[in-house]
């Protein structure tokens, strides 16, 4: 079982969304919602400690494989969030992502934290640092305007090059 106290944050992103904690929780745990804001990927979550947390690409293949570590709806969801590439966990350890949903007056403050249990190169972290703002900006637009942003993201080249140097195969 993951010991979350061994993990240190490498990225913290805070965004305020005009919505309710319950609706934001639903958006963060629903395949239907996530397809709209998460680059077409579908989030499949079994919302209990030990439940599976899977992100599936439009072609059905698994992009992220993980497990629920903390589950306190609608306030907190912590998961292991491991990209499904061979040797990644062996070489870099698991990635922990936590979503904290707090009321801020009538609206919501969502804080997403990515954490690791060992030092990770900035080039590798650049993938998440590029991806999360796009995903969360799109989520905010979806919840506030009914329409997600569908941003065409460039593959994170620095991250892919750094993973290759470590012998981690990427598609």
């Amino acid at each position: 079982m993951i010991d979350i106290h061994k993990f240190r944050p490498t990225m913290v992103y805070t965004i305020y969304i005009a919505s309710t904690p319950e609706k934001v929780w639903e958006a963060l745990t629903s395949a239907e919602f996530s397809r709209k804001y998460f680059f077409g990927n579908a989030l499949e979550v079994d919302p209990r400690v030990g439940g599976a947390y899977v992100v599936r690409q439009p072609d059905g293949s698994v992009h992220i494989n993980g497990e629920v570590v903390e589950c306190e709806p609608p306030r907190k969801l912590t998961v292991t969030f491991n990209v499904n590439w061979p040797a990644l966990i062996e070489k870099l350890g698991p990635t922990l992502v936590s979503y904290e949903i707090e009321p801020a007056g009538e609206v919501v403050r969502l804080t997403v934290t990515e954490a690791h249990d060992r030092p990770i190169e900035d080039d590798i972290l650049s993938g998440g640092r590029q991806g999360w703002p796009a995903i969360l900006s799109s989520l905010k637009s979806l919840m506030e305007t009914g329409q997600a942003l569908s941003i065409k993201m460039e593959p994170p080249q620095k991250m892919l090059a750094a993973l290759k140097r470590l012998g981690i195969q990427t598609p």
């Binding site: 305020y16 005009a18 905010k140 942003l149 569908s150 941003i151």
Partner: protein
């Protein structure tokens, strides 16, 4: 790896680079998303820049270092109202605006980097809490016509 406490915030907004530049540099607009505060400047390199509270008191001050509308704005920026933060000296705040392809309409990527030449900074810690609030407000204002956080919640 940098030991400096730079704050970086990236957001994507459904708007045009020109509209975003206007929102960042027009006092009437700024007041709406910056909790009643506004900026005063002519936005030309070398010109002075001020951030002013709703009651007219000076909050922060500095100078425009670079201005390349609608893509890039760099401000030399020092807090003026808090003695400890003022003593830290000038920070550099860079706004980078890029068009990004969006399936339906145009979107922009706004990248803000707020940096100071110190290993620890109370000022950067303070703006790290402020920027997500201000930029969340700016994004909601441009996309929906209303801010997300009410004006008094500074």
């Amino acid at each position: 790896m940098s030991s400096k406490p730079d704050f970086v915030y990236v957001t994507f907004i459904r708007t045009t680079p020109e509209r975003l530049w206007t929102a960042l540099t027009t006092p009437e607009f700024i007041r709406q998303y910056w909790f009643g505060m506004h900026c005063e400047s002519d936005w030309k390199p070398g010109s002075p820049w001020k951030l002013v509270f709703a009651d007219g008191r000076l909050a922060d001050a500095g100078e425009i270092v670079e201005a390349d509308p609608p893509q890039r704005l760099v401000i030399k920026w020092r807090n003026e109202w808090n003695a400890e933060m003022r003593a830290e000296g000038y920070s550099l705040c860079t706004f980078q605006i890029e068009s990004v392809p969006d399936a339906s309409r145009q979107a922009v990527k706004l990248s803000i980097t707020h940096a100071i030449e110190r290993t620890e900074s109370k000022f950067i810690e303070a703006v790290s809490g402020g920027w997500p609030r201000i930029i969340s407000n700016l994004k909601s204002l441009l996309e929906t016509g209303s801010v997300v956080l009410p004006p008094k919640a500074a």
